[in-house]
């Protein structure tokens, strides 16, 4: 058996894990009352919220684990958590 002293992993390859499958709750970004504060993007531990335009944010469900932080912290209660149905 070959024993290597170190192991090397390529940068950013964790993107292969589609952690969205973990979700029990799903954030819905209504994009109605949004004031563009950006808190949802800043506070998301997965880094899966993106800005489409100034007052329009969206989520990448491939990775969103449904923690609900974005909905809890949203300045204008424009994000709703719904039960995920698979």
């Amino acid at each position: 058996m070959r024993l290597d002293l170190g192991a090397i992993a390529k940068a950013g390859t964790s993107k292969a894990n589609q952690t969205g499958s973990w979700r029990n709750y799903k954030p819905i970004f209504h994009q109605v009352k949004c004031i563009g504060c950006g808190l949802c993007k800043i506070y998301c531990p997965e880094g899966c919220v993106t800005m489409i335009e100034k007052k329009k944010y969206t989520v990448d469900y491939t990775y969103c684990k449904g923690c609900g932080i974005c909905a809890e912290e949203c300045s204008s209660s424009d994000i709703e958590m719904i039960v995920e149905e698979k």
């Binding site: 992993a9 800043i42 880094g47």
Partner: protein
């Protein structure tokens, strides 16, 4: 052969790539994302064994979009010291800043000796401690940074115990006592403050120590959606004082709320303190925790 130290990746995405396997609502994942976001691509990071390392490097994958080295639990600061010296030896110290990272256990307990050496020798490194107040990766064991009366698997509560009977170790003061130029505490509840402090720290030559309060929904038995709220309350009550120490002097603090937020507000939303609310005697324990907050407010002038 010289290789490019850092190759900027897709700038739009975060430097801590998604697909990491941190628990839902993990404060440590958020803290690391914010630190990297502030530091930018020209960095080399090391990390001690712990949740952050485990959930970002599920071999053969990695979430790190910057050069990252993990060696052992106890030696993140020592590895970073080696990296910093190597950059200098190669005359390439202007190409990348070095950031060492560790959990509270990896920093204040098992890695303290390596960290002290790093601070003492004056390496140009920013050390970041992600403080989730216990050894989370191995199942919530008490660390030197676990707060008073907190329930962990090695400080259980019950008939003869209120949980952790020791006080949280004053790690920022220990770091500052090395005579280093910059020490700061921060919290995931205040991301802009983290950004400013990381940028400021990286602009200073020499050893820097930063400790970020990072709620752990699993170990703290708090709801994942409340991660920010829990962190915010720790600061607002005075239980997690936020300050900067520059060359030994406290230069900036974040004030607590007026009127004072009672510590109950913070404690009652976390299962790790639930035992304090189950019997009348628990009130006396909560009073002791209130006194800890009051002492912090007094000591750092947070009112």
């Amino acid at each position: 052969m010289t290789t490019t130290l850092t190759a900027p990746k897709e700038q739009s995405c975060t430097l801590l790539a998604p697909g990491h396997t941190a628990c839902t609502g993990c404060g440590e994942a958020l803290a690391a994302k914010l630190v990297l976001g502030a530091a930018g691509t020209n960095i080399i990071v090391t990390d001690a064994t712990g949740c952050l390392e485990v959930f970002t490097t599920k071999f053969p994958q990695s979430s790190w979009e910057v050069p990252f080295i993990h060696s052992l639990f106890e030696n993140s600061a020592a590895v970073a010291s080696g990296v910093e010296v190597a950059l200098k030896a190669l005359g390439r110290q202007n190409e990348a800043k070095v950031i060492a990272q560790g959990g509270d256990g990896g920093t204040a307990d098992i890695g303290l000796q390596a960290l002290s050496g790093m601070l003492e020798r004056g390496h140009d490194i920013l050390y970041v401690c992600y403080d989730n107040e216990a050894y989370m990766n191995t199942g919530v064991q008490r660390s030197g940074l676990t707060p008073f009366d907190c329930m962990t698997t090695t400080s259980p509560c019950g008939e003869f115990s209120w949980g952790n009977k020791h006080n949280k170790k004053d790690m920022p003061s220990i770091a500052a006592a090395h005579g280093i130029p910059y020490v700061a505490t921060a919290s995931v509840a205040f991301p802009k403050d983290i950004e400013n402090k990381v940028k400021k720290a990286l602009s200073i030559t020499g050893p820097k120590y930063m400790q970020i309060h990072s709620p752990c929904p699993l170990g703290w038995r708090s709801k994942p959606q409340l991660t920010i709220q829990v962190a915010r309350l720790a600061v607002q009550t005075g239980l997690y004082p936020i300050f900067e120490i520059e060359n030994g002097k406290v230069t900036k603090v974040r004030k607590v709320t007026t009127p004072k937020t009672p510590v109950e507000e913070y404690l009652k939303i976390q299962g790790r303190f639930a035992h304090l609310f189950k019997s009348p005697k628990g009130k006396e324990e909560i009073q002791k925790i209130q006194e800890i907050a009051d002492r912090n407010i007094e000591k750092y002038g947070l009112a």
